[in-house]
């Protein structure tokens, strides 16, 4: 029972932890490197592997925390995460079949949806196009962090969630 609960909560907890880590108000390299969207990596991963553990409500909760921590107008990241989740879920077979570099490109596509949604929602709210550079930098750094992040999450999945896959 405890193991099942832990495996059920693991994706959401990983997402929330990712949001907390990426939104620590600490900048290295003099603000040149934007913070990655670490909270989105678990959403993408478990939406493909175990969507029953990463539900739309979980993506919504992770997005809410991202909005709270990131500042700015409320709801932008929540909408971005949930919209991207919807796209991933509809194209799950295509995304999950990717391997190697193609898998990274698949994640980059999903992150592009997140960043584009956030960018255009912000532009609509402020009626002004923000500079593209920072959001492109965020996209790039998030994709860069996906490679080690997916390994860590994959290891966690195998160790804690993997044995329960046979239930499905």
């Amino acid at each position: 029972m405890g193991a099942r609960l832990a495996s059920a909560l693991l994706p959401v907890l990983c997402g929330l932890l990712g949001v907390l880590l990426s939104n620590l108000p600490i900048t290295l390299f003099g603000s040149l490197v934007p913070p990655p969207l670490l909270g989105f990596i678990p959403i993408y991963f478990w939406c493909l592997v175990r969507p029953d553990l990463m539900t739309p409500a979980a993506a919504f909760a992770i997005g809410i925390l991202q909005d709270v921590m990131a500042g700015g107008s409320p709801g932008i990241w929540t909408l971005s995460f949930v919209l991207s989740y919807a796209v991933i879920q509809r194209q799950r077979d295509a995304f999950a079949g990717l391997a190697g570099l193609a898998a990274v490109l698949g994640f980059a596509t999903a992150t592009l949806i997140v960043c584009a949604t956030a960018y255009f929602t912000t532009a609509a709210l402020y009626w002004h196009l923000p500079p593209v550079g920072p959001i492109v930098g965020e996209l790039a750094i998030t994709v860069l962090f996906y490679i080690p992040g997916a390994f860590v999450i994959g290891a966690l999945h195998r160790r804690l969630v993997g044995p329960l896959r046979s239930d499905f």
Partner: protein, 351 residues
């Protein structure tokens, strides 16, 4: 990593919840547009909780940033040293000029009995965190409402204005930088040569390093190097805070900021409150009617000063013909209403 070695779980039946959650997210965006402070309380609680951690990692992070930031400077130290010596010599000359001018201004103020600038209470704070996100550029200070810091107050360092307090928690506060997308500051632009008249504008951040200058008419010509300071319009910011210098050309004027938020460590929060203008002392000779050359309505003036009527006496009836004071100008009524001596009778305010 997601690859085809993963066993994909069955397709979930979460289409309906997904639609509902998507709709909720859209509602949240719309709600956030109308109530931008929706998450402010949660943000400040989390930041207050994180404050001890941020304090403890502040020193190593600063050391790391200083180390990485100085790598490229190693190759230009000699040239920088020469340039700094030259600049220092010129600044010493300007300092002498400034001292002479300060004495002259003080002398003129004494001659004119000028009203001194209001005192500004300041709160010293340290920067314990910075965040540069795609749509928000902030820094976090270790001073909050417990130190009398309030939202809206200006934050400056030794070089100039950095931004304004955006959120204030108990022991921390968020600063919205001048370059942020949400920043709007009324500014005054003074010509660098001092010949042209000062202009008013709004400095608008757009998440670039150099904010824009808005609300300038097309005919206005600025020159690179013109000084930008806070105008004090609105009474929230003190006037004259140094902000930056004008760059760019017609239609695309921008401001190079004096302060560098990325390197600021200790800042001041200015608790500026524009004092309300004092009312002139009330006396008969200064009444607007008298000033306009009309006879004073002595009965109306004397009535409030009379001792209170006995209890048996009826209250002032609405039909009682009170002596009316002639009003030669429409704007005098406002002055009269503020006077404690000649409050207008009820029911007669629409004359």
């Amino acid at each position: 990593m997601a690859n085809n070695t993963w066993k994909i779980a069955r397709r979930s039946n979460a289409q309906l919840p997904l639609v509902i959650v998507l709709a909720l997210a859209v509602v949240l965006v719309l709600l956030g547009k109308s109530q931008s402070g929706l998450f402010d309380h949660a943000r400040m609680r989390i930041t207050d909780l994180m404050a001890p951690t941020l304090e403890s990692v502040r020193a190593p992070v600063r050391g790391f940033n200083r180390w990485t930031g100085s790598i490229d400077e190693l190759f230009t130290v000699y040239q920088q040293n020469l340039a700094l010596k030259d600049e220092n010599a010129r600044l010493k000359q300007w300092r002498n000029v400034a001292v002479v001018m300060e004495g002259r201004v003080r002398h003129y103020q004494d001659m004119l009995h000028a009203v001194p600038d209001p005192d500004i209470n300041t709160v010293l704070a340290r920067v314990i965190g910075r965040a540069s996100r795609p749509f928000l550029q902030t820094m976090i200070l270790d001073a909050g409402t417990a130190h009398a810091v309030k939202p809206g107050e200006a934050v400056v360092d030794s070089r100039g204005m950095i931004g304004r307090i955006y959120l204030a928690g108990d022991h921390t506060s968020w600063v919205i930088l001048l370059s942020d997308l949400n920043s709007r500051i009324p500014v005054t632009i003074a010509a660098a040569d001092g010949k042209a008249a000062a202009l008013q504008a709004i400095m608008t951040g757009d998440n670039t390093a150099m904010p824009m200058l808005d609300t300038l008419s097309d005919s206005v010509i600025l020159r690179p190097g013109d000084q930008v300071v806070s105008s004090g319009d609105g009474g929230l910011l003190p006037p004259g805070l140094p902000i930056g210098t004008v760059v760019g050309g017609p239609g695309a004027y921008r401001v190079t900021l004096l302060a560098d938020p990325a390197s600021s460590e200790d800042v001041e929060v200015l608790a500026f409150r524009k004092p309300a203008e004092a009312l002139p002392p009330a006396s008969i000779s200064e009444l607007p009617a008298v000033a306009a050359g009309l006879p004073p309505a002595s009965a109306a003036i004397a009535a409030p000063a009379a001792p209170p009527a006995p209890v048996a006496a009826p209250a002032r009836p609405a039909a009682t013909p009170l002596p009316q004071m002639p009003r030669p100008a429409g704007n005098i009524s406002a002055s009269v209403q503020t006077s404690p001596i000649v409050a207008p009778p009820p029911g007669n305010g629409n004359e």
